[in-house]
């Protein structure tokens, strides 16, 4: 209810600034909102769409999920869309640099790394220091992809020289190796640990909260209905959206 009030208030404000105020809650013509969102948001944004559509029955949300850099490239190549939710500042910058965004992007969640081990923790991994043990089988993301870059920053910050056995091409590939029990430990995003359920176990790493990926969201200039697009962004930033994202393991924007 609080969330609803917040969103309605936000809409009222947005509506005022846009002069003619077409209330999206009223029986306006059906509006389709196309949201470009990072792949890591797939599950939580599906839930957010359900809640949003409940509140705005005239709005239908369609998603284009993908790697943030691929989505940014599509937008720069003039694909039509209403909202862009990226997994990193650099990918959002690609889009803002092409001046495709209305206003400044807002950070809506953060994601940090967590140590992950197979169910039952067969190698008795206790902390980040175990990643330096050459006898253990360790997986990290390759340095070329965001999760690998984040892993390197975290390891450097904590002064650990890791002895990885494989540097995978994306975070889901790392997670698969853990789920199959092929590696004893790995570094993945907290949200991946949550999504994997009871097939893996997560171990908190002290200091991991200082190496975070910030997810920015913005309304696109190409959005034909700026008010509804803005309402969606506010919904994600609002109580209901944040509750769904927190449940998926994301951290609050700070």
């Amino acid at each position: 209810m609080v969330a609803a009030a917040v969103v309605v208030a936000a809409l009222a404000l947005a509506g005022c600034s846009a002069q003619s105020a077409p209330s999206p809650t009223a029986t306006a013509a059906p509006v389709t909102l196309t949201v470009y969102a990072a792949a890591s948001l797939t599950d939580s944004f599906a839930d957010i769409a359900k809640e949003f559509e409940k509140q705005y029955p005239s709005v239908k949300i369609t998603y284009n999920f993908g790697g943030s850099s691929a989505l940014a490239a599509q937008l720069v190549a003039a694909s039509p869309g209403d909202v862009f939710a990226a997994a990193s500042a650099t990918t959002m910058k690609t889009v803002t640099d092409a001046s495709l965004v209305t206003g400044a992007p807002q950070i809506f969640v953060t994601n940090s790394l967590e140590l992950v081990v197979p169910k039952g923790n067969p190698a008795n991994v206790t902390g980040l220091g175990d990643l330096a043990n050459p006898d253990l089988s360790i997986a990290l993301c390759a340095a070329a992809v965001p999760c690998g870059a984040a892993a390197l920053r975290l390891l450097a910050q904590e002064g650990v020289t890791a002895a990885p056995d494989t540097l995978e091409q994306d975070v889901k590939a790392v997670l698969a190796k853990v789920e199959l029990g092929e590696v004893d430990a790995a570094l993945v995003y907290r949200t991946d640990v949550t999504a994997a359920g009871d097939k893996v176990e997560g171990i908190d790493v002290p200091g991991a909260d200082r190496v975070v990926n910030r997810y920015p969201i913005a309304v696109l200039k190409s959005a034909p209905n700026q008010t509804t697009a803005r309402a969606f962004v506010d919904f994600v930033l609002g109580t209901t959206g944040q509750a769904i994202l927190t449940k998926a393991g994301f951290g609050a924007p700070n």
């Binding site: 390759a142 070329a144 494989t166 995978e168 199959l180």
Partner: protein, 269 residues
């Protein structure tokens, strides 16, 4: 009408040229967009040379294994022509499956068999402390899995078109089975075997999906050239194009070396 009797109808020529263009144009784009100014610099980088050497080494060993296991398998497949229809088709299907399977699926299947918790892998680990994933051996096994069908089918094609009467004659003259195989059959299908081996080698060299799934990716151990290329694509697309050209160059050299001997059944003249 200047068209000679040997001319081909436009009904064939036009779609054929479109088809050829479809196969060639993407590669032309690769060549056109290549960062020619910095290509030598990129290719001579230490990590690239490490990947290239690893690729060449593992692909060579994979080809050797394919020859040792694949030629006998091709002989069996060729002889299965006399079998009952069900086992005959089953054998051919089993050999062909890795050709049509997404290589990633092959990689997962190898993990489930030989991984640390795999059907066989768990015993290797428990008894001998052997783990196959994340080792060069895993790279070779992944390559053997995807490349062996190429060799088997090429050799089998050669065997089926070869004249069995030579073998029968040798056998009637008192040659042992092994002697016939080594001195008569193998020389007859020699071109087919070398064509199959080269095809097997190039397929191994280009292997990506099964490798990254089963063997992982670590510089100097399991990171082959295609894997390096894929990772570079996310960081430096120009470098990825340069590496793709390197792979393309190796493949072209090998295929030109084959001339037109690579079709199963066409053993060259």
């Amino acid at each position: 009408m200047r068209r000679t009797k040997r001319g081909v109808s436009p009904v064939i020529v036009v779609p054929a040229l479109v088809g050829l263009a479809f196969l060639v144009l993407p590669l032309v784009a690769l060549v056109v967009r290549a960062p020619w100014g910095s290509i030598v610099q990129i290719v001579m980088k230490h990590e690239v040379l490490t990947s290239l050497l690893l690729s060449l080494g593992t692909a060579s060993l994979a080809t050797a294994i394919c020859l040792v296991l694949g030629v006998p398998l091709a002989v069996l497949l060729a002889r299965s022509a006399h079998w009952h229809v069900v086992p005959r088709r089953l054998l051919r299907a089993l050999i062909t499956v890795p050709l049509v399977l997404p290589p990633v699926v092959g990689g997962v299947a190898l993990l489930l068999l030989l991984g640390r918790r795999g059907i066989i892998g768990q015993w290797l680990y428990a008894w001998f402390q052997i783990t196959i994933p994340f080792t060069p051996a895993a790279v070779i096994l992944a390559q053997v899995f995807v490349a062996m069908p190429f060799l088997v089918l090429a050799v089998e094609g050669a065997l089926r078109t070869s004249d069995r009467r030579f073998e029968l004659a040798a056998a009637t003259l008192g040659a042992s089975r092994w002697h016939v195989f080594r001195r008569v059959t193998l020389p007859l299908v020699g071109p087919g075997v070398s064509a199959g081996a080269l095809l097997c080698f190039t397929r191994s060299l280009g292997e990506f999906g099964a490798t990254i799934t089963f063997a992982g990716s670590f510089p100097g151990t399991t990171q082959t050239l295609p894997v390096t290329t894929y990772l570079e694509l996310q960081r430096d697309p120009d470098a990825a194009i340069a590496l793709s050209l390197l792979l393309l160059a190796v493949a072209v050299v090998v295929l030109v070396g084959l001339r037109d001997r690579w079709l199963p059944g066409v053993t060259g003249s």
